[in-house]
């Protein structure tokens, strides 16, 4: 983009890419998980819910530390990386995506689970009496009815990934062009006393956050109106 120095523009691009891929992956992974958490009667499901929620309370450095080990050459991440001849997933963009998925998971699972729980049994029972198989009931009834929750989850997941700092720094190492995203770039600019650049990125984040929240409120209002 003309007029914007690449040391600012590249982290922005990378951040959007990371957040988009993370959000899409999270919707695919978190939706079935949230469905199971909302509907299962298994006694141990709350243990699973607690594990999923851990990143919400753990210090990012703790989460980042264990992710670093897991993604490193001696962890499962290293084994996966060896499939295409690499040594490790740490300090790579792929590693950032995996770490972001784990770190943002609770922010996506929670609203979707609540949305599924709020639907209750009745619409699914109705669907069954109308010949809908459980699969069809999920796609044509549960998912559309829970769509505000999915939207909230996606927005929160995206925003949280954009804002993640500690985990990213531990896993990514702030390598320009590869793993330096907006949050770590701001940190870097501040460290080197480049207030103007830091301000450009930080100010942009404030505007972005405002836009996200406004958008969410407007969409929720539209949903509420459509449902009457």
């Amino acid at each position: 983009m003309p007029g914007i120095p690449s040391e600012i523009w590249v982290p922005i691009q990378l951040t959007i890419e990371l957040a988009a891929i993370t959000t899409l992956s999270l919707l695919v992974v978190a939706t079935p998980l949230a469905w199971w958490l909302a509907r299962s009667r298994a006694a141990w499901k709350e243990a699973v819910a607690a594990v999923v929620s851990l990143p919400m309370v753990l210090p990012p450095t703790v989460l980042g530390f264990y992710l670093l080990i897991a993604l490193g050459p001696d962890g499962p991440g290293g084994a996966i990386a060896s499939l295409w001849g690499a040594r490790t997933l740490a300090f790579t963009f792929t590693g950032l995506v995996i770490a972001s998925i784990v770190a943002s998971m609770p922010f996506v699972v929670q609203p979707i689970r609540n949305a599924f729980a709020a639907i209750g049994d009745r619409p699914l029972e109705v669907a069954a009496t109308l010949r809908a198989s459980p699969r069809r009931a999920f796609w044509t009834v549960a998912l559309p009815l829970a769509s505000p929750g999915l939207l909230t989850g996606a927005v929160l997941g995206f925003a949280h990934t954009v804002g993640e700092f500690g985990v990213i720094l531990m896993i990514g190492g702030n390598i320009p062009g590869r793993t330096r995203v907006m949050s770590t770039a701001i940190f870097d600019f501040v460290e080197t006393m480049r207030w103007r650049e830091a301000n450009m990125l930080a100010g942009g984040m404030v505007v972005f956050a405002f836009a996200v929240i406004l958008l969410m409120i407007l969409i929720e209002k539209r949903f509420a109106r459509a449902r009457g």
Binding site: R122, P123, E125, V126, A127, A128, T129, L130, R131, A132, S133, P134, A137, T140, V141, P144, L145, S147, A226, R227, G228
Partner: protein, 372 residues
């Protein structure tokens, strides 16, 4: 009744602190009312029939098709050819009325062509044409329930289950829907199991009745028979009445009266114009029937019928309910008569006694032509 023409259901088990042990056989035609006080297990039975709830040793055979048997056979709900109308309409909030209606309709042109229940017919029957493109959130309670009934019908069910479809509605909406239900019963040859705790709905709609109390079936059979069975709570209730099938013989326009024949006699009742040969539901309240030993002289009472006392039961210390069989030989339809014990003794009445039943009021259900 052969297996192919009945609905057989038997469910037994504990649900929390409630124990259910209910079994009945009903003909697979007309309206069968599941009747009983709130909390007697009616809804649980209906949910078991639908497969929404599973009691391990349950049995459910509809028109010869096994939906569940104690050997472990269990058809999941979505494979059972049934329609279900819940107490609250439970329309899908994210779909328009039209798409709600079409949700369960068989898809594919071939099927639609041979389908028995056409979309336009249902829309017309339920009077919901103007609502088709609206969102469910913008409908009144009565409109919503009509759409829910239409949605269930369009799945082309072999059995329609209705769980107190009127109970969540106010008086006006109830009055708005009842005629639609009567039309449904008369126009479609579809067996219906209808849950209610309102005897008025039973009297207007039901052909058979299954009486429930505390998780058990205490009686089942044709409505007329159970209403006049003094061992069941219906006959000794304060508002006890019998419902008879009447065949219109003549209409007297000068006085606005019809003459109907019932088994063992004929009745005269006020009515709008009606043509001979039509069947009408006739309701006679126990409190409107008094007994005399001989034919009374001149009287304002139009209906005086020779009959015999079939049985009598004390309601309390001072009141008696007698079952009266019409006809001089007592082989006709049965009425109930509520009288004081003093009258009972003064007339020297006993089972088998010949009496004249004087019927003060006869109520007719509206005919098909009057439903608009």
């Amino acid at each position: 009744m052969s297996e192919g023409e009945t609905i057989r259901a038997a469910f037994k088990g504990k649900l929390g602190s409630f124990s259910l042990d209910a079994a009945f056989v009903a003909p697979a035609k007309g309206v069968t009312a599941l009747f009983g006080p709130s909390g007697c297990g009616k809804t649980t039975v209906l949910r078991c029939i639908a497969g929404l709830q599973r009691l391990p040793d349950g049995l459910c055979v509809v028109g010869g098709d096994v939906w569940q048997d104690p050997n472990g056979a269990f058809l999941p709900t979505f494979r059972r050819p049934l329609g279900y109308v819940f107490q609250e309409a439970s329309l899908f909030a994210h779909l328009s009325v039209r798409r709600n209606l079409m949700f369960g309709a068989p898809r594919g042109e071939g099927e639609a062509a041979k389908g028995k229940i056409a979309f336009d017919e249902v829309v017309e029957l339920l009077g919901i044409k103007a609502l088709l493109d609206r969102a469910p959130g913008r409908l009144s309670g009565g409109e919503r329930q009509r759409v829910a009934i239409g949605r269930a019908l369009l799945t082309e069910p072999k059995l329609l289950l209705m769980d107190e479809p009127l109970s969540a509605l106010d008086r006006t909406s109830k009055d708005e829907i009842l005629p639609f239900l009567e039309r449904l019963r008369d126009r479609l040859s579809l067996p219906i199991i209808y849950i209610t705790h309102a005897i008025a709905e039973v009297e207007r709609l039901a052909d058979q009745i299954v009486l429930m109390e505390k998780g058990r079936v205490i009686g089942s059979g044709p409505l007329e028979e159970l209403q006049s069975d003094p061992t069941l709570p219906l006959a000794i209730a304060r508002d006890a009445a019998v419902t008879l099938d009447g065949l219109i013989e003549a209409y007297d326009g000068r006085y606005g009266l019809v003459t109907l024949s019932v088994r063992g006699g004929s009745l005269v009742a006020p009515s709008a114009a009606a043509s001979a040969g039509e069947h009408r539901r006739v309701r006679v309240i126990a409190g409107d029937v008094s007994l005399a030993l001989g034919p009374p002289g001149l009287s304002s009472i139009l209906n005086v019928l020779p009959a015999r006392v079939a049985s009598a039961n004390a309601v309390d210390a001072n009141e008696v309910v007698a079952v009266i069989a019409l006809g001089p030989d007592g082989t006709g339809a049965r009425l109930l008569s509520r009288l004081t014990r003093r009258s009972w003794e003064a007339l020297g009445l006993a089972e088998g006694a010949s009496v004249y039943a004087q019927v003060k009021a006869v109520a007719l259900a509206p005919g098909r032509g009057e439903l608009g």
